[in-house]
């Protein structure tokens, strides 16, 4: 596959691994956060951490939109599907996320709710066109990569004059989440997560450009290297972050120049600005209430807003007290630090969102990396 397989080449990986080992200062530890769930997945799936020296640690960030969706929003989606006779269209990742009392969309479907998996908003629009007598709700989630397709769908619905199509909007914003991570402090005022820099998201950046990350370099003095999705991209970005850390610099660098431009996708940004506006605050699993971090549908398109069209009855949202998704999403804990990991919480029976989504830190570790921890334990025994 062109522009894909060349970026997975084992020989080049050896070279980058050597370069990283040569430049990493053996007298210090480097802690970099890969914000995006896609990067978490790439690291695990290719075993990239085997090619990094021990003193370079990757901290998994909250860039998994399924993982950060608060329990209450899942409950509302389930309620939409069960309390109203709607066709609820959703991306596959959301089907098994457990809400309060472990109700999920897939369980709702098994009890008769009309929940349908779609690969694209285009599919949801088609369902609405094909079923004019039924209400169709699209469960929209995602960071800035996934928001423009929802904007297109709403504009298209308006153009077609669809009266039965609405969107349940849970789109969230990357820079706000990065700010929230850097801003969480212990009661004594020390930062909760010690980070030396960020591996910046690939496709969020293709949409928003490189400029939004400047604040992290100027205000927080953290370097940001935007990385492509393939393992060599991530390794190169880690190398660049190590260099910045060694030099004491904090700049925005773009390793994914083949797809990310400084201004990003201006057309997509304009569409999003037209169809959405920023919510005052939004509750994130793990980060709590974060101001100006999520989007709602603009008044002009209120006909397509499921939150205005439907009233639902939901229980008080409750998460399992032992579920460590919060600290894991903030990068404070590792999956193995959660007492539920591997015991009552497994991909077969997920207790929290980090285990459901294939990009969640817990699912990635369970699926790809579980053997590594056990080996380390064996070695130290």
């Amino acid at each position: 596959m062109k522009y894909v397989e060349e970026f997975r080449n084992a020989e080049l990986a050896k070279g980058l691994s050597a370069a990283i080992k040569a430049e990493a200062d053996p007298d210090r530890t480097y802690r970099f956060m890969e914000f995006c769930g896609g990067h978490t997945h790439a690291l695990a799936r290719y075993g990239v951490e085997d090619l990094l020296p021990q003193n370079v640690r990757m901290i998994h960030g909250p860039g998994c939109p399924v993982c950060v969706l608060p329990v209450g929003r899942v409950d509302e989606a389930v309620a939409l599907a069960t309390q109203h006779d709607v066709i609820l269209c959703t991306y596959a990742d959301l089907m098994r996320v457990p809400g309060t009392k472990y109700e999920s969309l897939i369980k709702a479907r098994s009890k008769g709710a009309d929940v349908r998996m779609v690969y694209s908003t285009i599919d949801a629009l088609k369902i609405a066109e094909d079923n004019p007598e039924r209400e169709v709700v699209f469960f929209a989630i995602g960071f800035e990569t996934t928001t423009p397709p929802t904007a297109v769908a709403i504009k298209q619905a308006q153009k077609l004059g669809l009266k039965n199509f609405t969107v349940y909007c849970n789109h969230v914003l990357t820079p706000a989440a990065m700010r929230a991570i850097l801003g969480t402090h212990t009661p004594e005022g020390a930062p909760n997560v010690i980070l030396d820099g960020f591996v910046g998201p690939a496709h969020v950046s293709a949409v928003i450009g490189t400029q939004p990350y400047e604040e992290f370099t100027t205000d927080y003095k953290k370097p940001v290297v935007i990385a492509g999705f393939e393992p060599l991209d991530v390794m190169q970005s880690i190398l660049q972050l190590i260099r910045q850390a060694n030099d004491g610099r904090a700049d925005v660098e773009n390793e994914y120049a083949r797809a990310v431009t400084p201004e990003g996708n201006v057309k997509a940004q304009a569409l999003v600005d037209e169809v959405f506006e920023v919510r005052d605050e939004f509750s994130w699993r793990g980060l709590g209430s974060v101001p100006l971090s999520a989007l709602k549908i603009h008044e002009e398109f209120s006909d397509f807003d499921a939150e205005l069209r439907f009233r639902v009855d939901v229980p008080t949202p409750k998460e399992n007290k032992l579920c460590a998704c919060g600290p894991i999403l903030r990068g404070e804990k590792n999956p193995v630090d959660c007492s539920l990991f591997g015991t009552s919480c497994t991909p077969d029976n997920p207790m929290g969102a980090c285990m459901v989504s294939s990009e969640g830190a817990c699912a990635a570790h369970w699926t790809y990396g579980r053997f590594r921890t056990e080996l380390e334990l064996e070695d130290s025994a």
């Binding site: 691994s17 799936r45 290719y46 075993g47 090619l51 699926t367 790809y368 990396g369």
Partner: protein, 362 residues
Amino acid sequence: MNAPQKPPQKPRPKPHGNKPGSRPLDLKNGRVDMSHGAGGRAMAQLIEDVFIGAFDNELLNREHDAAMFTLPPGRVVMSTDSFVISPLFFPGGNIGSLAVHGTVNDISMAGAKPYYLTAGFIIEEGFPLCDLAEIVKSMADAAKDAGVSIVTGDTKVVERGHGDGVFINTAGVGVVRDGIDICGDLARPGDKILVNGTLGDHGVAVMSKRENLSFTTAILSDSQDLGDLVSDMLDAVPDIHVLRDPTRGGLAATLNEIAHQSGVGVELIEDAIPVRPEVKSACELLGLDPLYVANEGKLIAICPSEKADALLAAMQAHPKGKNAAIVGEVLQDARCFVRMKTGLGGTRMVDWLAGEQLPRIC
């Protein structure tokens, strides 16, 4: 090996169309209705004209409720599988050919030669007879190629909306010759793991026909009978430890099953696993991993390491094994983890997935 005892000769019954007072089945435009499952004349006509007509063998032609036969000496192997695949027709096959290949292969995976199959049908009211006839013909062709006879069966019809076109169950019977001992719990550390060809073809072929995915590809399902390949493999290496076909859940699920049954670990080499470029890219587009995608004409063979080269040569010499490869080895590991050296040089687990990546793939 003694051939099964032949029953007395009986001429095949003529189609009902020749009997006075009955109309022939309209195989072109007709549909299955509730009377075809009711046990009366309509059902008898359906069975004769569609099923017996196609499967046509001496045991079936006797039209007894049960088929009676003797088998050659050796241990008897039995297997059953139900087929609920959607869509019913896909590039490279249909639910009928799949139903024969699936059960015949299960028998072959025990190292046995399959002889006889049953075929049970649950048909939805309104199902087109032309589709049924085509499915049945595919079954007949597949059975003939595999050297098996479909000797008994059953037909039920359910109300419209209570089926999904047609569901098929096949059960099969075969015989293992002496000296062959193949079982899922016999993998041993040091053994090598082989596959007979490219992985993921069937799953991708079926997916390409699912309307909501809107992608096109020339990939065909690999659904095929593996009996003759297995026979050559056992001639070359009689002490193969494990044979299994990686159907639902793909190579990953099957290796995890075997690892647990045998109490061992597995290490795969990603670069050694054959996957067609089109299957790789279809999986990329859909966010799937080829290791977890269903196959219907592939097998995993686990044999002692000193026999691996001979086994590979025997497989590659056969048309159904020309892309065969050694893909990994069995390790000592009490946790029964299946891991893989990635193309990048790192290591990852190949975990037992919670559920099927795609529904109704078999």
